[in-house]
């Protein structure tokens, strides 16, 4: 589904990512974990087209999407759910969701897509007329994920869905992610909450200072001594 081949990327002259290689199969949910400032968000932004990589190639279903602007990568089927929710605060919940059907090919499915998101997050249906800025952090996260799903994407890039949320809300968000995974949604999940992410995803990459330092099945990574002491505090 997604293949990243040795990309370098960053902001202007500041290089953040060095020679990143990563692969996601169709229907797979893969975690990308690492400390603050490791380059996790930079990688997602590069895949989404918000940053153009200086080297390497990004393939989505065998076609290169490297260097495409975000409005084109989204048309190819990539949904980026940004860190910190980034809902359109002055627009209503439903208007936010409808932004997910902005692409012409998604407009005919408007009603069913709304139904699907409302079934997944009944809270959003209760608040559909409310201004998005007045929602709680958890509800805004649901909205951000729902808005991404409205795009009927082939690949979802989820950036820190648990950031700043209460444990109870994190659990309910993760329940939904689990369900989406079961339904075969291909996802790249970025998290600082290593334990949570690794319990959900079968495979993971660990990124540190812009380089992939470890990859493999989640159990192996959880057993690694380094990971244990750095991320899990065991």
């Amino acid at each position: 589904m997604l293949e990243i081949k040795g990309i370098d990327s960053g902001y202007g002259k500041i290089k953040v990512l060095k020679d990143i290689t990563l692969k996601i199969e169709k229907g797979e949910m893969v975690a990308l974990v690492g400390p603050n400032g490791a380059g996790k968000t930079t990688l997602l932004k590069t895949i989404a087209g918000m940053i153009v990589p200086s080297k390497g190639d990004i393939l989505l279903e065998e076609t290169s999407i490297s260097g495409m602007p975000p409005h084109k990568t989204s048309a190819r089927g990539i949904a980026y759910v940004p860190e910190g929710r980034r809902v359109f605060s002055a627009m209503s919940v439903e208007e936010n969701l409808l932004m997910g059907t902005y692409l012409k090919k998604n407009r005919p499915h408007k009603t069913e897509s709304l139904r699907m998101v409302y079934d997944l997050f009944p809270r959003l249906e209760e608040r559909k007329k409310q201004t998005a800025g007045t929602l709680s952090g958890g509800e805004q996260q649901m909205l951000a994920i729902g808005r991404g799903l409205m795009m009927r994407p082939k690949l979802v890039l989820l950036d820190e869905p648990s950031l700043g949320l209460a444990p109870l809300l994190i659990n309910s968000i993760y329940k939904v992610l689990e369900r989406l995974n079961g339904e075969g949604m291909t996802t790249l999940l970025v998290e600082q909450n290593v334990k949570k992410a690794l319990s959900l995803c079968k495979r993971a990459y660990v990124i540190e200072s812009g380089e992939i330092v470890m990859k493999g099945p989640s159990e192996d990574i959880l057993c690694d001594e380094n990971v244990k002491c750095t991320y899990l505090g065991i």
Binding site: M50, H71, Y80, P82, F88, A90, M91, M99
Partner: protein, 288 residues
């Protein structure tokens, strides 16, 4: 008497609101202080004048005929003169560029049509109706109603259509809008075009009730800026409220103070709002 002053103030205020909406939308989405706005109003007035004078087409109809031309004009100005400006110099440079463009258009208008004051005299220009003891001229009434309809129409466009929502989303968060599939550059060009169309249409609608002359734009651009600041930048409902407040304030000033005091009301309101509520009456960030 006070009711009739207020009614007349509201009627003119609706036209002022239409005048300001194009400006507020351009500012909201692109953070561009568009000094060309007043000249777009002026060009709209002359377009209405020429079509009425040469072909006898009523300004209330011709504004729709000339709208596509103004859209193209606005898009060209944005694409070739404003878009190439680097992002960090945007605000100041775009102000200077649009100011320059407006001088070019105002002096060209003087060259083409001379400095004479022109009027559009409709067959019913002298007719008056009486409503709650208020004498209302037919042209003023029709112009106000048309402005009101267009404001409502624009509001619906911004809230109910994909493009309107994309404009608002771009206004709120460019990066996230682009991730949703919005071509931000194209939306910016179109928004500037729409802003110019709204200004030109307001000009056309104003033509039966105001004198038309090459430098009329500077008069309107000041009013439009006051309304935008008054109502809150980027807000359509704010522009409506601000327009009506300015219209009523002007009507009150010209009756109770002196007619010549009318035009300073804009500045008084402007200073007042900056002192007491700089975010505008409806405040907050970019509510529709």
């Amino acid at each position: 008497m006070i009711t009739s002053i207020i009614i007349n103030g509201i009627l003119i205020g609706l036209i002022y609101a239409l005048l300001a909406i194009g400006l507020t939308v351009i500012f909201g989405v692109m953070r561009i202080i568009n000094m060309f706005h007043g000249e777009a109003v002026m060009l709209g007035m002359y377009a209405a004048f020429v079509l009425f004078d040469k072909f006898g087409i009523s300004p209330y109809i011709s504004v729709f005929l000339t709208a596509p031309i103004f859209f193209v004009l606005g898009s060209i100005i944005y694409k070739f003169l404003i878009d190439p400006i680097p992002a960090r110099e945007r605000e100041i440079t775009s102000l200077i560029i649009t100011l320059g463009i407006s001088f070019i258009f105002a002096t060209s208008a003087m060259y083409i049509w001379s400095a004479d004051y022109r009027t559009v005299t409709l067959p019913f220009s002298q007719d008056v109706m009486v409503f709650i003891k208020t004498r209302i001229g037919y042209p003023a009434l029709i112009s106000s109603c048309m402005s009101a309809v267009m404001i409502v129409g624009f509001y619906l466009f911004m809230s109910k259509t994909y493009m309107g929502r994309a404009i608002r989303a771009t206004e709120l968060d460019k990066d996230t809008a682009s991730v949703m599939g919005v071509n931000v550059k194209w939306i910016s060009i179109a928004t500037f075009g729409i802003g110019v169309v709204l200004a030109a249409m307001a000009g056309g609608i104003l033509s039966p009730i105001f004198y038309i002359y090459p430098f009329v734009g500077s008069n309107f651009v000041i009013k439009a800026f006051t309304i935008v600041v008054l109502g809150g930048m980027g807000s359509v409902t704010g522009a409506l409220v601000g327009g009506i407040i300015l219209g009523v304030a002007e009507a009150l000033a010209s009756t109770f103070l002196e007619y010549s005091m009318k035009d300073i009301m804009a500045f008084i309101l402007f200073l007042g709002i900056l002192l007491f509520k700089p975010s505008g009456i409806l405040g907050g960030r970019t509510r529709l």
